[in-house]
Symmetry: C2
Subunit: 239 residues, 2 copies
């Protein structure tokens, strides 16, 4: 009877309310062009602004860690639901894997987890965590921050199924009329590193196609042929 | 004006509803005695039973990964709220650190994250994930499962602030009247490895004190003097 009662408890479907603790300010204003994992685009700096409820005390000592776990909500796809099977881009979009065997944003609770390099913390106008190598969309709701603990979480020899290592990067060429000379070095790096990750859907290979990606306040146009990307133009976004 | 509107949006305090995707069955029935990090007690096997909504498709391919991230709710402390500053046991309970600089369960959203070794998956009566090295309380609500990706998440040389490495373990002695001969080797290992982590509050050092810990259906009594623990008895829980 006790056993039955316990079993019954286990089947209860529980709900929890999660509150935003902060918000991301990111140069990525749309999903297309965001690296598929954190760390691949070191130039991608974001700022996490903690809610006013969280003062400097809440992050005391966090600056002594190199990396932080950022828990967030995939807010851009909340309306798109989830599916039991997904087609990871790493497998050319041809094989199906279970949603819990992937990091797909289309998952039951739309929870995301990114390991970001913590560059600095500022507390002069609210608590802000500045991180590099980010793969987060602008205005992403953050729901927790935790320190990275290498002795527990660094498992360099762990089997990683269908994810062997970082994908090969594209060579980047800038067209002479691209307007690169008007960009800061940091912004040009962000664009180069983002496109080097090959943002195309895995099943597309159309060399003549011009892709358009928004980064910061600019619209970037580029083409991809084999393992080379040609950046055609970087222009302020049309108003 | 656009800028102001954006700023205003960022200050909105959002709420999200999270649903349990599964539940933990663990030998740890109470907080006292649970390892403070996953991986420290390899003998601690748990089973995560996914909700009936999630069939075998949802975990297709997950068996090719060695480790999984388990997102869960610290349900045992939901009623205890959170505080901006906590006293990590690793610092002897004497120093205060910001809640986001620790893995304390007393955090705003009570979200937990554990890296567990995935031993096997069974799907004959619902989907069950069997994991070792767990630090999870029985009946913990699980809210997401993700594969561990070493090329992104293994950072063995990352600075880890006040968390240097695994804490020293206690030597374990079994009292001759402890009843060890009646235990399976696996259960005795679970008890030994759990107590070797020194479950005492960091600010306690009372050699004569008898501690009582529940593991599985047993009540374990032990004493700790310097770097040695003496297991006094392992008896079925009083009904």
């Amino acid at each position: 009877m006790l056993q039955f009662h316990k079993l019954f408890n286990k089947l209860i479907h529980m709900q929890y309310t999660i509150e935003t603790i902060g918000t991301v300010c990111s140069p990525y204003k749309q999903k297309f062009g965001i690296a598929r994992q954190p760390g691949l685009v070191p130039a991608a700096e974001i700022c996490i602004s903690l809610d006013k409820r969280f003062q400097a005390d809440c992050v005391r000592g966090l600056e002594t860690f190199d990396y932080i776990w950022v828990h967030f909500i995939f807010h851009g796809v909340l309306g798109e639901g989830w599916a039991p099977l997904v087609r990871p881009p790493r497998l050319g979009g041809k094989q199906k894997k279970g949603v819990f065997a992937t990091r797909s944003p289309h998952r039951p609770n739309h929870l995301g987890l990114s390991l970001l390099k913590l560059e600095r913390i500022t507390t002069d106008s609210g608590v802000k965590l500045w991180c590099s190598g980010a793969d987060l969309l602008d205005e992403t709701p953050v729901i927790d921050i935790k320190p990275y603990i290498p002795f527990v979480e660094a498992k360099p020899n762990a089997a990683a199924g269908f994810i062997d290592g970082a994908p090969p990067q594209l060579d980047i060429l800038w067209h002479e009329a691209s307007g690169r000379q008007h960009l800061t070095e940091a912004f040009a790096s962000l664009i180069s590193q983002s496109i080097a990750q090959d943002p195309r859907p895995a099943y597309q290979n159309i060399p003549e196609r011009v892709y358009v990606m928004n980064v910061g306040d600019c619209e970037v146009k580029f083409q991809i042929d084999e393992n080379r990307a040609l950046i055609l133009s970087v222009l302020p976004m049309p108003v």
